[in-house]
Amino acid sequence: MTEVTVKIDGHDVSVPEGTLVIRAAEEAGIEIPRFCDHPLLAPVGACRQCLVDIPDAGNGRGFPKPQASCTIPVAEGMVVETQNSTAVKAQQGIMEFLLVNHPLDCPVCDKGGECPLQNQAMSHGQGETRFEGTKRTFPKPINLSPNVLLDRERCIVCQRCTRFAAEIPGDPGIALIQRGAQQQIGIAEDKPFSSYFSGNVIQICPVGALTSDDYRFRARPFDLVSTPGVAEHDACGAAVRIDHRRGKVMRRLAGNDPEVNEEWISDKDRFGFRYAVRDRLTSPMVREDGELRPASWLEAVAVAAAGLAGAGSVGVLPGGRLTLEDAKAYATFARDTLRTPHIDFRSRPLSEEETGFLRSRVAGTSVTYADLDAADHVVLAGLEPEDEAGTLFLRLRKANRKGLRITTLSPYASEGSRKLGAEVVLTAPGAEKDALSQVSGVTEASVILVGERLATSPGAYSAAAELADRTGAKLAWVPRRAGDRGAVEADLLPRDGGLDAEAIVRGNLGALLVAGVDPDDTADPAAFLAALDQAGFVVSLEQRITAVTERADVVLPVAAASEKAGTFVTWEGRRRPFTQVFDKPAAYSDAEVLGHITAEFALVDAESAEVADESVEWSPTTTDSAATTTDSAGVRLATWRLMLDNGTLQSGDKALAATARPAFVRISAALHEELGDVVTITGDRGSWTLPAMAAELADNTVWVPTNSFGRGVWADLASPGSTVTIEGAQQ
């Protein structure tokens, strides 16, 4: 790209052609005051705060009037003065205007102390206003959504929020209404601002106009301690900033990481943090006479070690919330200490095919967000980025707006696919294999992104790998949970004759070591609970009381993400280390707890453990879940998790939950016409009567959100890969 050299406040700066003057000035370390300008949003030139004097536009002639530096690109030889008398007069004039109708209620405003208006009024305004008149007032505040509130009189209508909503997530639910000094941000009647990314508007608001119900009036910025972190809600690795006070998280903000999440995070990453303080397990417990009772760490660890050593075969189910360090600890603990090959991190429907795929095509590979930007075509299969990987969704949408072609193999044409500008290939569950083999336009510059849901679609992973091999395209696997990719890297997968998670459940093993697994997430919740009941010995490493801890013989509390340091591995394979936020006594990471058990293990006779493996009985047919169900009549069941649903890590955040999209079953227009707005769906595990919406779906398919109703689809409705029947609801 051509470089041009401009002189800003006497300093020569060379920047790429097309750079805006305000950015070029930043390169020279000169900060021009601004409000509407945001580097990740299209320029608008609305607030006029960044006016500068341009005595020479590069052609020997100057602009007669000050120019908005956020909308003017540099030109070779341009001379810019940001601090001469013309520029200062213009900047001070605009600042004075901005404060005419601003309430100046900084002492009671949440933004006070971190407010660009407050700061720049000090740095670029005059000490006193000449305005002696009447300020415009509004009733305050109003709700834009259940979680985002607007104090209109503080608003300087810079349009950062409306531009964000329209440009970045594609949820243009807020807009300017009225005009002149009455101009304000508004929503359509009875249509709250609905976006999974709505919290970002609060963070980029340059005044205190937008606040969250969650944080409003809770803290002052100067009382907060900030610790950088990594979001634990998905596999995207978004950088977050955790603001806390006296051992309590007050809020979370987006961190700035241009390579990953830029400056945006999802509302789940931002507002979902109270799970770590609700119903936490505070002390180890052991079961005595059928009841759990609190125990000391020493006792609990000794009981766990003895129980595991004496149980015969042990199955290890560490789940997907692990840091890489914890994952490695589980691998070592299972293979070296317990000497069991039965370990599997997967806490959802899986397949043998997937085991091989993860080991051969995922572990050790790297495909980055930057690769998506550079790609000519991205193919999605078994993956709904808006719901399942928020950061990935925003990056894909940005790339699409710059021309990236996106194709998605999806059971229905979702709003998320529309926002991605994706070509939707309607694909019934189970038909992904054929659909992948027929995708065209894939080249070595393309990227194929597959989701973990493909595990229930026989042959789909293989077809994706084959497509990548045939075309030279990059291939990446996007799991749901933050620890999933790290677990693959640590090889928490069965090998050497080991059983996978579903086989462990059916394997009648002597003992189970279970960490971050919710039985209702697994392919067969009832079988999982039965396995816990049948197992001779169950050790649970958990943060909160769950169905597993209720059935455990030893419960060992472990640290939440904020209470330990560690590394998440993103779907890209990128290591995302984070530091400890809270140093709480006796909050041990999984790795530390396993270390304690290992130390105790050395004292126990290890021989009994070695014999164990032989006693396993396992029939491989039990994992072939698809084969058992395809021939039953009915409608194919498609499902994924909405971003905001009944997930454990969202519990306790009421305002966040209130922003969740209403959960609907999606049925074909014809079926909707026939059955109406409420339908009863019956599967092999139960029956649900739910509100339904018409959608463009693959033939003979129904879509149900996985975890928005009851205990979730696998527990209450149907088994993975099965078919269901639909009828009109009984009134």
Binding site: A46, R48, A90, I94, A175
Partner: protein
């Protein structure tokens, strides 16, 4: 009528049912269209360029040159080209397009067809101010007549040229007279000015190449085509060619539309209008609507062309000559205008939105006699902080009456302070002043 007047656009206004197609056809209407369709589009463009026609909406940009900014038709680029006529006439004092569309809508329609042909547009829009429902009805009736007569639609006059014309009603916002705000409004969005570049010629309506012209500019095109570029260029002054409608309103005996070559003086126009109201003298006037700095008696002989008015410190604008006699309080008049700008500021940019809010409050207290002499300097400094700092010309226009009135009538402002209120009797400036006394 004096021979100073040259009725071109206004020539048929007094005809019986002048707004109907038969009446328009009878005086040669749609003949120019045949002439144009017999020429290459580029030649029509050249003709308009050679005529020296400059935009009649205020800025005075040469119309033919503006047409030339459209990128050349490109078979690779399937984007359509549009002609948009700005008939959102809302400036205080400006009242030329609305009478034109009321009296002879076919003049505009014929102009639209010829101009669209010249720029190879196949779809044109007339964006009319929403409040003038009677005019919208009349314009729509004229468009319907034109369709029925084959002047619009497919294969116009057998030439193979197709054109669809849509009359679009605005919703009552002054800002939508700003061309890019007009485009947003026409697209169904909130009317606020767009950031340029891209300019409308490159990415205008629906991001397609678009020409936006004032209604009077487009209505002038048929006469130019019919009579030739030289005929038009021969009138007016060297740089401000042709004739234009001068709208005299306020304290003259015969307010109305006076069509004359550019370069005429107000002295002459007032003479034509029968003079200033009996028993009064001219005090101040606007040359081109409220957004152009005021003139006074000393400017009676300023030539009313783009250059002459600019040299005297104002702008020709829309030739909306509002005449105020010595019964009028300039502070009161300026306050009313400023209230208009406050009401109409779209809110997009800070100086216009907040500045007009503040200006009104300062002017209000000055008018009531509650102000301070320093308030005049405050007003001037506020205006300095708005002028050239706002996003579009609305903010600039808001400062014109204030700065110019303080320039010429500072003592009158101070008199309000000395007397603790307005020294004028507002009733005396009304049309019923004599009845009151």
């Amino acid at each position: 009528m004096s021979d100073v007047l040259v009725p071109v656009l206004t020539a048929n206004w007094a005809d019986e049912r002048a707004w109907t197609l038969p009446a328009y056809a009878e005086q040669g209407g749609y003949d120019a269209l045949d002439v144009a369709l017999g020429m290459a589009p580029e030649d029509v463009q050249t003709m308009v360029k050679d005529s020296g026609l400059r935009g009649r909406g205020g800025a005075g940009f040469p119309t033919g040159v503006k047409w030339g900014f459209l990128p050349a038709p490109d078979p690779e680029n399937p984007k359509p080209r549009y002609l948009v006529v700005n008939a959102d006439e809302s400036e205080p004092g400006t009242c030329k397009d609305i009478p034109l569309m009321m009296a002879s809508p076919h003049t505009l329609v014929e102009g639209v067809i010829i101009s669209s042909y010249a720029i190879r547009a196949e779809r044109a829009f007339i964006y009319v101010r929403g409040e003038v429902l009677h005019v919208i009805r009349r314009l729509r009736a004229a468009v319907r007549e034109a369709y029925e007569a084959g002047h619009l639609g497919t294969n116009i006059h057998g030439s193979g040229y197709d054109l669809e014309l849509v009359v679009h009603a605005g919703a009552g916002a002054y800002i939508c007279g700003e061309e890019t705000a007009l485009l947003d409004s026409l697209e169904g969005r909130r009317g606020q000015p767009r950031l340029r570049p891209p300019f409308p010629a490159v990415a205008g309506l629906y991001a397609s190449p678009t020409v936006i012209n004032n209604a009077e500019s487009i209505a002038s095109v048929p006469a130019i085509v019919k009579n030739g570029a030289d005929w038009f260029a021969g009138m007016g002054t060297e740089k401000s060619a042709g004739v234009g409608i001068f709208s005299l309103s306020g304290h003259v005996k015969k307010p109305g539309q006076y069509e004359a070559p550019l370069g005429i003086t107000l002295r002459k126009l007032i003479e034509l209008a029968g003079g200033v109201r009996e028993g009064h003298e001219l005090k101040f006037w606007t040359p081109g609507g409220s957004s152009t700095p005021l003139f006074t008696q000393e400017h009676l002989d300023v030539t009313l062309d783009f250059e002459g008015v600019a040299a005297a410190g104002s702008m020709l604008g829309t030739r909306a000559l509002q005449i105020f006699d010595d019964s009028v309080c300039v502070v009161r008049a300026v306050l009313r205008w400023t209230e208009f700008y406050k009401h109409e500021s779209c809110g997009k940019c800070t100086p216009c939105r907040e500045g007009t809010w503040w200006l009104v409050q300062v002017l209000e207290r000055l008018e009531k006699g509650d102000g301070k002499p320093e308030d005049l300097d405050l007003l001037l400094d506020q205006c300095d902080n708005i002028l050239g700092r706002s996003f579009c010309a609305l903010g600039d226009g808001a400062t014109s009456p204030i700065t110019s009135s303080i320039q010429y009538f500072r003592d009158e402002y101070l008199a309000h302070l000395e007397q603790g209120g307005c020294p004028f009797d507002a009733k005396k400036s009304t049309a019923w002043a004599e009845a009151v006394q």
